[in-house]
């Protein structure tokens, strides 16, 4: 590792940004739940975020990079480090995203590094964007989940309706969908995972990967609606699904589904590329 390798300092800046972004929720989780319980919940840090940030560092750090730090690099790193002084996790994510934007705009970086920079930009902006969306359009987002849940539940139970984010059976409130239970919150992580894998493998997103993206959106919403329906169906089921075992099981199902669908999309891309090559070899294209 040459100390004058600029990509090393890019990677270090991202790592510092990531630590700043996750330390506050992690400490809060330990403070609130105790160390062991917090560790079981991965310290309130979504595994997709950890994976994506590590991927960004791996893509951006290039030991063969011969460039040293330019004045622009110096300014961008200073701007990011000063921005990270703001004691807010959301602001840390924003500055990580802005650093990604700076890196993506650099002409002299390799295509692999550019992929890492674009993923960093999307990962960094996800948090502030979702915070804004779930604050300003909270009613609409939660009402959508409640409507789908009521529709599914009405197939099994009589007189089930949705009123805003509440699911009612007659005059009885069966479930109130809160922000942490919304499909959108899970969907944003799923989409980030899909985007990171797609962009890490190819600089353009193929039709096959877009199909996989559609499948991820449908399956994430469907899985969440099934979970909410089970929670609304009885208090016993609510207790099982809402507590940590049910919560962890659901997270595993979500991650497995997204991973499988992303792999399925990648296989389709490979198949498409192979058949295209075969056509070229046989002279039919």
């Amino acid at each position: 590792m040459g100390i004058d390798n600029r990509s090393f300092f890019y990677a270090v800046t991202i790592a510092i940004g990531a630590m700043n972004a996750v330390i506050k929720p992690a400490i809060h989780s330990i403070d609130h739940d105790g160390f062991w319980s917090a560790s079981f919940n991965l310290f309130n840090v979504h595994p997709v975020m950890v994976g994506v940030l590590l991927l960004c560092i791996a893509l951006i750090y290039d030991r063969r990079d011969v460039h040293g730090l330019s004045k622009k690099d110096l300014l961008a790193i200073t701007f990011t480090l000063v921005g990270l002084l703001i004691p807010s996790a959301t602001m840390s994510w924003l500055f990580i995203g802005l650093f990604g934007l700076y890196l993506a705009s650099r002409q002299s970086i390799t295509p692999v590094q550019r992929s890492g920079a674009v993923i960093l930009l999307v990962a960094g902006l996800r948090e502030p964007f979702m915070t804004f969306l779930l604050q300003v359009f909270n009613s609409e987002v939660l009402a959508l989940d409640a409507t789908f849940t009521a529709l599914l539940l009405s197939a099994f139970q009589d007189s089930v309706t949705a009123q805003g984010n509440m699911i009612l059976a007659g005059n009885t409130v069966r479930l109130v969908v809160l922000t942490s239970c919304s499909s959108l919150a899970n969907l944003s992580f799923a989409m980030l995972f899909w985007f990171a894998v797609s962009r890490a493998i190819s600089s353009s997103i193929s039709r096959e990967m877009l199909v996989a993206c559609g499948a991820i959106v449908v399956s994430m919403v469907a899985l969440n609606i099934v979970r909410l329906t089970m929670m609304a169906s009885s208090s016993a089921q609510y207790a099982i699904i809402h507590e940590s075992i049910g919560k962890t099981s659901f997270a595993i199902i979500m991650v497995t589904t997204v991973s499988l669908l992303t792999v399925w999309g990648l296989r389709n891309v490979e198949k498409h590329t192979d058949s295209h090559r075969a056509h070229i070899d046989s002279g039919t294209v």
Partner: protein, 169 residues
Amino acid sequence: MSKNTRIVIALILILAPFSIALKISKPTWIHEQHEVPITQEFKAFLASSGLTYFDAYKTINSDAYKVSLFQTTLAEDCFAMVYVIPMPINAEAEFIIARPLAVAAADFFFVFNGAVSDRYPSLKQWAVLAANRLRDLMNLPKHNAIVYGIASSAPCVNPRGFAWDLSAQ
């Protein structure tokens, strides 16, 4: 080692530990603000309008969005309750106030910094919350970001007509 590299190493060594220390030392957690009790000033304001604080009840499984009950005391021919839920984060309790204690309210509305509205003022609250974060960084006093969901159990009590400028109380 170039000059730029030396400057960046110095910046990292100084600013990185400092930024993490600032995150750890700042004790305000937005999550904890879900549970906001009704203040004495708020109770006094409703008391001056003929409503006496009765009790507070859970509306969901957690302690967030507890509904406070206020009973009419002035009009003898009107036995009614006024329900109040403080909503400090977002609109997720917007419809809970429509059915406080699982019974549909006769009327419900929202009060935010003196203004009464039928729909939850999400954008206005977001703007105040964002401004408060900046004010917090500069150690300036924060503005009120709590939206109060208000409902009444019977038409004989009309909390909409109250002068809801709580800052003036």
